[in-house]
Symmetry: C2
Subunit: 523 residues, 2 copies
């Protein structure tokens, strides 16, 4: 059964195909909001989601949003035929998962394809994420999801070995180890085609920081060339179509702030698999203010990475690291790039150097480039010999940057605000989340030169009047906003009597404390 309507075009970019029907016509077609219709103009057709209005369009009209009229080549007044469309098969599979069922491989592929093609409504995608969050993913489902994500995009097939990769769970400000580790590992002859993300909620992603030194947007073919030439690269994953579905899944999860474990495992492992990684080190920072605050949970996540990774044929080692404070003294793209270059020269932040050499050492051991237990020493040697710095300059040049760049050349914002200690004390805690908020308010990562310079580290003694940190911004309004954010989110704590509340044997997480303060009961 099909009905005819007159097109009324709206200049609305909805990011998906939406048509609007008058209430009367919707009833006649037995359609409800969020149902789907096949929209036909001449020999072109597409599936759209229905919105219902009694004002925007009259009976006999169909409102077409931009995505729809562009694809159909329709103008206002054009003859449009509507037919009821079936729900995508995915909706059945999601229902099955809501019912506690297991998703099979072809079903998972269908769900990922439907997500890729924007075939699901916001409510349906949300139900999928919720079902995975509550019911979890089995090991099999996690592997199906990983494979489906890999299958949704291109693959990087270097045809060279060994291929190594690295991932950090994140949540630690300034944690720019990738940019130290990649040159170290590449300098030993191991291939490390590193793709990184831009920041979503942090002051800088690896891609944002690397971009200060060289272009990070490269095609798969260009990446192959760069890696063939230098053994390594540090490019923006978003520019290539590797593990394409992962970005869509992140978009869906973000508004709900839901991060189901199985999805996180699949997301990380799919990106590694898509570049053909055989050896992978995963950094799992734990501690107050980090993404993971509970050691047991971190250990369990690490074990899952090992299990699933081994079933996918990867050699993985996880390092559970101290994530209770920022790494390095600089926060923000240009400031972190400066820290990276200085560290590669052997004069940067000592904690950044230590952590990078530890993680690089693990990879070198995994790849057989260092005897077990000696990886750190080998990595340190590669730094000390200048080989890592040289390799970094090669990679910068291969990616189209200036290989003669000096740390002190990097542009740092001229608007400054200093936070001064108002009493003597010892630094007990530097809060990653507060640091992150303040640096973002100052403009990072949008403005490369904005961020924070930390003048103290955890454990340092400070005296009244001393500068604790500096906010750096490009423009005065951003600096003002950052100072306001600083006042609302004090990032540095001097000693307190009670550092953390405990209950029985199990430490209470910050989240639980916040929950109870909101009037919640036991979790």
């Amino acid at each position: 059964m099909a009905f005819e309507y007159r097109a009324k075009c709206f200049d609305i970019e909805a990011g998906k195909s939406i048509v609007i029907l008058n209430k009367v016509d919707a009833e006649r077609l037995d359609l409800f909001a969020a149902d789907r219709v096949i929209v036909v103009k001449d020999d072109k057709e597409l599936i759209s989601i229905v919105d219902i209005s009694d004002k925007m369009v009259k009976a006999g009209e169909v409102g077409l949003f931009t995505d729809v009229w562009k694809k159909l080549g329709a103008k206002s007044g054009a003859k449009i035929v509507l037919k009821r469309a079936p729900k995508p098969l995915s909706v059945e599979f999601i229902k099955h998962k809501l019912d506690g069922g297991q998703i099979k491989k072809p079903e998972m592929e269908t769900i990922i394809q439907d997500i890729m093609h924007e075939n699901l409504t916001e409510a349906e995608s949300s139900a999928f994420i919720s079902s995975v969050y509550i019911n979890g993913l089995s090991d099999d489902e996690t592997i199906f999801l990983t494979d489906s994500i890999v299958g949704s995009g291109q693959k990087l097939d270097l045809g060279m070995h060994p291929v190594a990769d690295k991932h950090s769970i994140g949540g630690v400000a300034g944690n720019r180890t990738t940019m130290i580790l990649v040159p170290i590992v590449a300098a030993t002859g191991v291939y490390i085609p590193k793709t990184s993300s831009r920041s979503i909620t942090s002051p800088a992603g690896t891609a944002d920081t690397m971009e200060v030194l060289a272009p990070v947007t490269h095609s798969v073919e260009e990446i192959k060339d760069i890696v063939a030439k230098t053994h390594g690269c540090m490019v923006w994953g978003g520019a290539v179509n590797l593990a394409a579905a992962d970005d869509k899944l992140i978009q869906i999860r973000h508004p709900l702030r839901l991060d189901p474990k199985g999805m996180m495992l699949a997301s990380v492992l799919a990106k590694k698999r898509a570049v053909g990684a055989e050896y992978v080190v995963i950094d799992v920072p734990v501690g107050r203010g980090a993404k993971m605050e509970d050691l047991t949970a971190a250990q369990s996540l690490a074990k899952d990475f090992l299990d699933i990774g081994s079933r996918l044929g990867m050699h993985i080692e996880c390092a559970i690291t101290d994530g209770s404070a920022p790494i390095g003294r600089y926060i923000g793209p240009a400031l972190e790039a400066r820290d990276v270059l200085e560290t590669l020269q052997g004069r940067g932040s000592s904690d950044l150097l230590e952590k990078s050499c530890l993680l690089a050492g693990i990879l070198l051991e995994l790849c057989g480039r260092a005897p077990r237990g000696k990886g750190y020493n080998v990595a340190k040697q590669v730094i000390d010999s200048g080989a890592a710095y040289k390799k970094m300059m090669e990679i910068i040049e291969a990616q189209g940057g200036d290989p003669k760049v000096k740390p002190e050349d990097l542009p740092i914002g001229s608007k400054r605000h200093e936070l001064i200690a108002d009493r003597d004390g010892r630094v007990q805690h530097i809060d990653n989340r507060a640091i992150s908020k303040i640096a973002r308010a100052a403009g990072a990562p949008r403005e490369k030169s904005a961020g924070i310079i930390l003048h103290v580290q955890k454990g340092d003694k400070v005296i009244k009047g001393q500068t604790i940190l500096e906010i750096v911004a490009e423009h005065q309004p951003s600096l003002d906003y950052a100072v306001e954010t600083l006042e609302q989110n004090p990032p540095i704590e001097l000693e307190k009597i009670v550092l953390q509340r405990m209950s029985g044997a199990k430490p209470i997480t910050l989240e639980e404390i916040r929950f109870r303060e909101m009037g919640g009961g036991s979790k």
Copy 2:
């Protein structure tokens, strides 16, 4: 921190407050799609959801959808200030439910209030429904939800006793027992202020059918008057603000086709509580093609109604009835209204009369109007004496209808199509869902005169060439559509060797069969 923008007004009725920001401005404010902002114009402000576009609005502009510019009294070019808004508290409570926690009374009230005020995004509402679907509601939570739904609207306080009510879980075509039961019960002096819904997916709701005989849209004050005068009424629940949140919850659940048990319990009981019902009979039809296909599940649902109802201080009895075929011979508003009047006159469909008297009898026993075990007889007597028919005419008159209406006066569509038996046989099954689809395709309930006349009942012998059913429509295109639907959904089955597949002791439901045919595993 607040930023200023120039308004750009869009004529888009989104049903909620939405503003559009350019990508650049969104980044500057650190806002993501589906985040919320406080939108300020002069001394007016409201909370909106953010959509992000790089085309619809330029940097420095903010797009305002109709709901927003109307409420703010803003025109294009007006100065608008945006501030980040916190997420509604509900989002935390929903997260808690996703995490397997229990929702407390004030938290449930907050969630229902936020749903009422359109404060939640589609994804957030969907996560709430999904969490309740998977994790279930405890008895306490069901009661909190019931109370919150009742509290979201007006209450009908008759100040008279006893007050009875009735509900059917639905899914059975033609099941118009309410319109027989209400006059019977009212005729015995019991108050029965019945609110009913319009059809969502069936060919007729009780409100649609009653509307053929009298107006069903009345205010709470009018309902009070009608019930004070006649002891009963049959009005459209959607016209009054009783249990207002229930409609919103149905709107959210509909696109996902999720019907969590606790929500269904709360939905039914809130509507009863809002009219002050003390005695309630609940019809739970079970059988192939009905909403509930499994007897054990129906029994468990009935037990939940008894438990929760008793904690709410209501006297409830559930009747598990045969829902495997339509009740009555007529499907569609006018046809069903005709069947109702004829049945009240003692000459309608015998199964409709039987079922109505059984359910009415249970209520009469509950209210002390009949001795235990004698309710059916008393109800039958009220029909036979003509008292029920007389009461029906009183109610029709009180609601503004014509009390002299004759069944044969009701308009029935003139376009007809007959389904003819192509062989001899016995009717094994009449499928409610197929009947429903065909009748809706014919125009019901939108066109009151459209529907289906069944010429056979389950168990009847038919001979080749005999009319099995007739489709009735107002217009030829609707009849054509219904015939097409009939061909795709054969509603009547003559004998088959295998009626239902069995596995071990547990009957397989139709849904499971379908699931397995789709390639699913064990559930």
